[in-house]
Symmetry: C2
Subunit: 334 residues, 2 copies
Amino acid sequence: MQRMIWAVVIAFIACLAVGPVLLPVLRRLKFGQNVYEYAPESHQKKQGTPTMGGWMICLVSVAVAAALHLGGWAPRTDMMLAALLLALGNLCVGFADDMSKIRRKHNKGLSPKQKMLAQVLLGAAFAFYCYAHPQVGPRIVVPFFQTEWDLGWFYIPAAIFIIVGTTNSANLLDGLDGLLGSVALVDAATFGLLALFAAGTAQGNDQRELMNLAVLGCAVAGACMGFLRFNVYPARLFMGDTGSMFLGGVVVALALLLRLPLLLPLIAFCMLISSLSDIIQIGYYKLTHGKRVFKMAPIHHHFEKLGNPESKIVAMYTIVTVLLCLVSLLSVAR
Amino acid sequence: MQRMIWAVVIAFIACLAVGPVLLPVLRRLKFGQNVYEYAPESHQKKQGTPTMGGWMICLVSVAVAAALHLGGWAPRTDMMLAALLLALGNLCVGFADDMSKIRRKHNKGLSPKQKMLAQVLLGAAFAFYCYAHPQVGPRIVVPFFQTEWDLGWFYIPAAIFIIVGTTNSANLLDGLDGLLGSVALVDAATFGLLALFAAGTAQGNDQRELMNLAVLGCAVAGACMGFLRFNVYPARLFMGDTGSMFLGGVVVALALLLRLPLLLPLIAFCMLISSLSDIIQIGYYKLTHGKRVFKMAPIHHHFEKLGNPESKIVAMYTIVTVLLCLVSLLSVAR
């Protein structure tokens, strides 16, 4: 518990320390954002704001989690490592995307096929890892029903779908100043708490594994909080795909390792509606040959077009996330 | 623990339900805000926004706390009642202030002397209650040092000073859309958690008393979250002095009942700096016959004058509060 709080506090302070060094470097490297050409007009002024702040979130949370992991060292603690590998793999996909956007000076990155292939491979590796791990396996928890559900071999494709879906949803959610940062903060902290509760009933090495996951969640939450200091409206730094893919990776890795993917629709609700609104919009557009459900997708741009300031949308998304995360905590709290 | 989460969730939903009923009523009663004439110019457009949203926070949190209290009924559970009486007393002072402002159609309420007298009397009653209560008494916890400090009879004036200081500081902090709501949300939730930790080592009726305080903290946090839905920039509803005095009262009551007033400089840091910046500004102005330390006091208006948007200042205050509250939780977490 103390280690978890320290993780948040240290990661936050580390971000504050890293920020003033990172910002001029990114600016010198000309890692400026090219605003997506179809974004609302008000976003054009964001052109040139440094991006790839995701490196800050990533480096800080990895360093803090690793340092605090040493404090609770156990002979076999590979779950945190696996979660970080998935997240870092996704970060690399996002980074490649960011780089090619900057090189080509417009808002298009890797080809969708290349991106998808890399994500599916990463997802498959992680799904096999979970399937084979004695502490995880294909039995997932059914929250609120005190029961478990054995998916058998079907666990593998389901997990790949969940991993690819969640990371891409996180990527889509990253469209307003501070939006994904705030939502991911709450999500990571919630999984940290869920890991703590799970550790309460585990023993020995299993318990240490879970406590490491709790520390990882808190380190990521702290890093998000520090990042928000530079990212709240008006943003001085964006996380880029680098950051959104990393955060999506962390969230989905924690969900699978804690055998709680069924809580994702609650905890990652805001990410989910970004994807769903995009799918609905495109599907309806194709079906009706040109009609739209939302003024703009993902849905946070729809709310923006309705005249809400960015900061208000971010506040509402955060409140909804906090509430749904509390409900998800009800599934384990006594 | 479950009751605490339910308190947040139910209070939040209740606020969402009450809001659409309350807003037109307040507007019909012409309970509009008269903007403080010395506020930054950008605040003039807030003229006429309904105020006294504090009633929503108050009624909802009292109702929820009372309802959930029944679930854990104990023969002698007067601590929650005492906390609520202090908060309601302060609410009445704030309400009288709001009413006289509206009647006289400018931003001046009760005379400072009348207000102070009422606050000191309320504070004295609560201080005596704490002093005489077997579970509270004049021994306060010295956090981080695993020791206690017996204040003896000096507890009474100290407690009165803390009560009057905190409620007035909360009142001063209420100057930007969503500011006090966000800070008080985090503060109340933190005291809820601190009460939960304290209950962990208590027994029997003492434990139930502490759990009731935990539920009260969470109910207030949930009500603040629901209130924020109407109060984040651009605000459609203000809490008024009614709300700020109530929230200040709840926070300070929980601090004293948990014997943790020494944590207030951490947990209520943002409230504290509002008062301190005001005192420094006025003192320096009188001393130097006209010079100023801050562009404007309380200090959140100073940040505003430096060109930061309201929403950013609120986000920063919230982040700082979360961080300091986490540090204060370190004092009890194992």
